[in-house]
C-alpha cells in the first residue's frame, strides 16, 4: 500500500497538518475536515458545486489532488462569511432570491468572489462567463446574475463610501441595514466606511468588520436592526421579485 503523505492545508486561515493517501482529492480532504460547505456534486469537473479559491483562483476541488494543494491557501464559501457575519456576496445571493435548493450556492459564491476581486463592475456577459463552470438546476440563473450584480454594486458602494447613513426613522420602520449584522459593535451598529477608506480600494466594505476601525462611522439605535429583518437568512421579501439594486440603494441610503 502506498504511504500516506504529509499535507499541509491552509483552509480559511487555519492550518491543518494531515496524513493523507495519495489518491485523496482536495474535495474529499476538505469535507473530511468538516468543510461541508464545499459540495460534492459530480466529481468530474462539470458542476462547480465543489469550487474553492486555491491561491485566489476559483477551481473545482474535485479536480485537485489534496497534495497538489500542499501549502496553498484554500478559501471556501464559509471562509468568506457566516450566517452571523455574512459576506456582501452571500447577502446579495439571499436578497436577490438566488438561492433555492442551495446546493450550487457555495460554488457560485466562490466564482463570484473570484470575479469581483478582478472586476468590480462586470457586465452581464462577464458575470455569465465567470459563472460558466457553476451549474444551477433550480433558478434559471436570472436571480444569480442579479445577485452578482447586486453584490458588485454594494461592494462598489462600500468603496465609494457615500457616507450618508439611512436616517434612524427609516431603520425603525424595519428597513434592512445590510451591514448591521456584520458590525463588530453588535447588532445595533450600522457601519459605513468613511470617505478615506474608499481611497484604499476595496477593503472598505470589509473594513466595517474591524472593531472600532475606520469602518465605524455611524451608529444606529440598538433597537433598529432588531426590528429590521435579519440581514441574511430570509431568502426573499414577500413580493418574491428580485430587487433591483437601485431600489435597494434607495432604501438603504
Amino acid at each position: 500500500m502506498p504511504n500516506k503523505r504529509k499535507v499541509v492545508l491552509r483552509v480559511n486561515g487555519r492550518q491543518h497538518e494531515l496524513a493523507l493517501d495519495p489518491n485523496v482529492s482536495l474535495l474529499q480532504a476538505l469535507r473530511d475536515l468538516g468543510h461541508t460547505d464545499v459540495k460534492n456534486g459530480c466529481e468530474i469537473g462539470e458542476c462547480g458545486a465543489c469550487a474553492v479559491l486555491l491561491n485566489g483562483k476559483a477551481v473545482n476541488s474535485c479536480m485537485v489532488l489534496a497534495w497538489q494543494a500542499d501549502g496553498a491557501e484554500v478559501v471556501t464559501n464559509a471562509g468568506l462569511g457566516t450566517m452571523d457575519k455574512p459576506h456582501v456576496i452571500q447577502e446579495a445571493f439571499a436578497d436577490a432570491g438566488a438561492v433555492q435548493c442551495g446546493y450550487c450556492t457555495p460554488g457560485m459564491v466562490i466564482s463570484t468572489k473570484a470575479l469581483l476581486d478582478r472586476n468590480p463592475d462586470p457586465s452581464e456577459a462577464e458575470i455569465r462567463e465567470a459563472l460558466s463552470g457553476n451549474l444551477c438546476r433550480c433558478t434559471g440563473y436570472t436571480q444569480i446574475v442579479e445577485a452578482v450584480r447586486l453584490a458588485a454594486e454594494r461592494l462598489r458602494d462600500g468603496q465609494l463610501a457615500v457616507a450618508a447613513v439611512a436616517p434612524p426613522t427609516a431603520l425603525l420602520k424595519g428597513e434592512r441595514v445590510a451591514e448591521s449584522s456584520r458590525s463588530p459593535g453588535g447588532p445595533g451598529v450600522a457601519a459605513v466606511a468613511p470617505p478615506t477608506a474608499s481611497l484604499k480600494g476595496e477593503r472598505a466594505a470589509e473594513s466595517s468588520r474591524s472593531p472600532g476601525g475606520p469602518g465605524v462611522a455611524a451608529v444606529a439605535p440598538p433597537t433598529a436592526s432588531l426590528k429590521g429583518e435579519r440581514a441574511a437568512g430570509s431568502l426573499r421579501s414577500p413580493s418574491g421579485s428580485a430587487p433591483s439594486g437601485h431600489e435597494k440603494r434607495g432604501d438603504r441610503r
Binding site: 502506498p2 495519495p22 469537473g45
Partner: protein, 290 residues
C-alpha cells in the same frame, strides 16, 4: 467516488521528473488534472505512479523570444487568456482559449495537458495548427521538436513516448499583416465540448493576393487536422468570394466525422466560408484578426 490508489512523485526539477518518467514503470505526468482525474475516476486510466509536473518552473511562462513565442506546457488556459503576448501575436489562440470548457476548468487545465490528451475536440490544437506550432518533447535521452500536425496522430494518440514530457509549445511570430479567425460550435455557449472547431489564418500582399493560408479543424475528424488542399487552393490568388467558397468546400473534404455525424461536413464548410470571409475583411482593414 474515490480514486483508485496510486503512488505520487513530486519532482523538484525537470531533470528529476524525466528520470522518474524513464525509470518508474507506469508513471504518468499530471498537471491540471482536469482530464486525468476524470479518467482515473472512470477507471479508463490507471497510472501506477502520478508525477506532479505542475510546479516545475521549466514548464511555465509565455515568452516572445526573438522570432518565436514559447508557451510552457503547464501554462493554464486562464493564463493564456490573459497574456498580452498572445493577445498581440496570436489572438486566434486567445479566442480558442476563451471558448475552452468553463471558467473553473480554465484555471486548472493546461495547454500541455490538452495536447498530451489529444482529444479530437481539443480547442487549442486547431488554433495552434494555424500558427505552425511545434511541441518540445524532453526525456533523459534528449529533447526533440515535433511539428504539431505530426505530433497529433489520432484520437487520444500522439507520437509522445511514455518517458517523454511535453515541455513547451512554440510557434513563429506570425506576419504582422496576417489575419486570423476562430469559431467553436457546441451545444451550449459555454462549458461544452466542441462539435466543430474551425481556425483560419490568411496573409496577403499589397495587391491583395494570398501569400499564406492556414485552415485547421477539430472535432470533425479523429484528431485536429489542417485542410492542406484548401490552403493550397487559396495561396497565390486574389481572395475572392469564389476562392473562399472553393476553399471552404475543400476544408469539408479534410473532415472525417463519425458515422451519424455527417452534418458536421456542412458545419465545417459553412464555418470555413464564414471565417475565411471574416479574415479576408480583416486583411483589407490591415488588422490582425477578425
Amino acid at each position: 467516488m474515490s480514486l483508485p490508489m496510486f503512488e505520487v512523485e513530486r519532482p523538484q526539477s525537470l531533470g528529476e521528473a524525466l528520470k522518474i518518467l524513464s525509470e518508474v514503470k507506469g508513471a504518468e505526468p499530471i498537471a491540471g488534472g482536469t482530464n486525468l482525474m476524470v479518467d482515473m475516476r472512470k477507471g479508463t486510466h490507471r497510472p501506477r505512479v502520478v508525477v506532479d509536473v505542475a510546479a516545475l518552473r521549466d514548464l511555465h511562462g509565455i515568452e516572445a523570444t526573438g522570432p518565436e513565442v514559447v508557451i510552457g506546457a503547464a501554462t493554464t488556459i486562464a493564463e493564456m487568456l490573459e497574456s498580452p503576448i498572445l493577445m498581440k501575436h496570436a489572438p486566434v489562440l486567445v479566442l480558442a482559449c476563451s471558448s475552452f470548457a468553463n471558467a473553473l476548468i480554465r484555471n486548472r487545465a493546461t495547454v500541455g495537458g490538452n495536447l498530451v490528451t489529444a482529444a479530437p475536440c481539443s480547442d487549442t490544437a486547431p488554433a495552434l495548427l494555424t500558427l505552425d506550432a511545434e511541441v518540445k518533447l524532453a526525456s533523459v535521452r534528449g529533447t526533440r521538436r515535433v511539428p504539431l500536425d505530426r505530433y497529433l496522430v489520432s484520437a487520444f494518440s500522439t507520437v509522445r513516448r511514455s518517458d517523454e514530457l511535453l515541455v513547451s509549445v512554440r510557434f513563429p511570430i506570425p506576419s504582422a499583416t496576417a489575419a486570423a479567425a476562430f469559431r467553436k460550435m457546441g451545444l451550449r455557449k459555454v462549458s461544452c465540448m466542441a462539435k466543430v472547431d474551425v481556425a483560419v489564418m490568411l496573409d496577403a500582399d499589397a495587391a491583395g493576393r494570398c501569400t499564406n493560408a492556414r485552415i485547421a479543424i477539430a472535432a470533425a475528424s479523429p484528431i485536429a487536422v489542417r485542410a492542406r488542399a484548401a490552403e493550397a487552393a487559396l495561396v497565390g490568388k486574389p481572395i475572392t468570394p469564389e476562392a473562399i467558397a472553393a476553399a471552404a468546400g475543400l476544408t469539408a473534404k479534410a473532415a472525417a466525422p463519425r458515422a451519424g455525424s455527417e452534418y458536421k461536413l456542412s458545419v465545417v464548410q459553412g464555418l470555413a466560408r464564414r471565417l475565411l470571409a471574416e479574415a479576408a475583411r480583416a486583411l483589407e482593414r490591415g488588422g490582425t484578426h477578425a
